[in-house]
């Protein structure tokens, strides 16, 4: 009896002794690489466009048209840039009234269009005039997919165009936001 119990105990101890180092090996080394402590940074020299009172179904452009705002690439890495827009909401009660941002730059009842054009760009956009619609889907700002990301020190001037809705409720202050974003190229 004693021999049997001893055998079982030894067997279990042997199994544990062999298994433990193997179990311990589950903790492998995790490597975290911060790519050269690069900093990503862009700046805009203008963030507001106070339009005041506007009429329906009318185009409004920044002044100057395409050199209104300057984007500067700072930091230490090349970047790809994007732009995305949003619905314009009634400042007093954003949940009850809005203008929907059009998906192609056109307008409609309570639907408005937003466009941007980068200085020197005369061919992009659906009309081939350099104006590109800003939609609720993130799109290219500077056309990096052609292989030209922006480098530190690069600057790009651009302007905006707003096409007001064909019809909207009057006397309501509306507010929207356009986000220019960047990621390491």
């Amino acid at each position: 009896m004693k021999v049997a119990v001893t055998s079982v105990a030894i067997a279990i101890m042997l199994a544990i002794a062999v298994s433990l180092p193997a179990l311990a090996q589950q903790n492998s080394t995790i490597t975290i690489t911060m790519t050269g402590l690069n900093e990503i940074s862009i700046s805009l020299d203008k963030t507001q466009w106070p339009l005041g009172t506007i009429a329906s179904n009318t185009d409004y452009e920044t002044i100057p048209q395409i050199q209104w705002c300057t984007l500067t690439v700072q930091g230490t890495c090349n970047v790809n840039t994007f732009v995305v827009g949003d619905d314009a909401k009634w400042v007093s009660d954003p949940n009850t009234y809005k203008w929907t941002l059009s998906s192609d730059g056109t307008n409609g009842e309570h639907i408005y269009g937003l466009w941007f054009r980068i200085s020197g760009d005369t061919t992009r956009g659906p009309l081939g005039d350099g104006y590109v619609p800003i939609t609720k889907t993130q799109g290219e700002f500077w056309p990096y997919s052609a292989g030209s990301s922006l480098a530190p020190g690069d600057t790009k001037q651009f302007g905006l165009r707003l096409l007001s809705p064909t019809y909207f409720f009057s006397s309501r202050q509306m507010q929207t936001q356009i986000t220019v974003s960047a990621v390491a190229a």
Binding site: V3, A4, S7, V8, A11, L14, A15, A17, V18, S19, A22, Q25, Q26, N27, S28, I30, T31, I32, T33, M34, T35, L37, N38, E39, I40, S41, I42, S43, L44, K46, T47, Q48, W49, G52, T53, I54, A55, S56, G75, T76, C77, A88, Q138, Y167, F168, F169, S171, R172, Q173, M174, Q175, T176, Q177, I178, T179, V180, S181, A182, V183, A184
Partner: protein, 184 residues
């Protein structure tokens, strides 16, 4: 009558006020480092963390938010798949106020749940840092977060140990019952 109603609708439409706040125009200027983080050999069931440094280069204090963003396929690094679940990434503080010309750190934790299906994967997710502002134009900076999990390995030591244990245990039990039967 219909024409009269249409005209009545158009007149108030001309009186609408649009767009941003009445504060003075400002620029927006901040930076985030690192621009790219690469995590390798993270075993499923484990977590790791790193710090993002947000540098407010403006002359006034700003509130910054940190969120995750799933990049579209064409924007991801080659060979990288979509990160399966953004709840696996957490921030020490999803919102932080940073004084003028100052910087602050945000700790980012990446925790992969247990499961063989998460082993040997290469994912990409972006961490977006934005400056809160009511202005028309805003800036958001994305940090590329590339996560590779450790490949699942066949644990030969564990297998041999278990096999030896089972065999010896079986022999012991067999020997015990045999002895017991003989003694009767």
């Amino acid at each position: 009558m219909v024409g009269h109603i249409k005209l009545a609708g158009l007149i108030p439409a001309l009186l609408v006020i649009i767009l941003p706040s009445l504060t003075l125009a400002q620029d927006v200027n901040f930076g985030v480092s690192p621009a790219e983080v690469r995590i390798s050999d993270l075993p499923p069931g484990n977590a790791t963390d790193f710090e993002l440094i947000i540098h407010n280069k403006d002359e006034i204090a700003h509130n910054f938010t940190v969120t995750t963003f799933p990049p579209p396929e064409q924007e991801r690094r080659e060979g990288r798949a979509e990160f399966p679940d953004d709840s696996w990434i957490s921030f020490s503080s999803p919102g932080i106020e940073i004084a003028a010309d100052s910087q602050a750190n945000v700790m980012v934790t990446v925790a992969i749940p247990q499961g063989q299906k998460w082993a040997g994967q290469d994912w990409e997710i972006w961490l977006g840092v934005a400056c809160e502002s009511p202005d028309l134009l805003g800036v958001e900076l994305y940090v590329r977060c590339l996560v590779s999990t450790a490949a699942g390995k066949f644990n030969i030591g564990l297998f041999i140990g278990s096999a030896v244990g089972v065999v010896l245990l079986g022999c012991g039990v067999y020997y015990y019952f045999r002895r017991k039967a003989k003694s009767r």
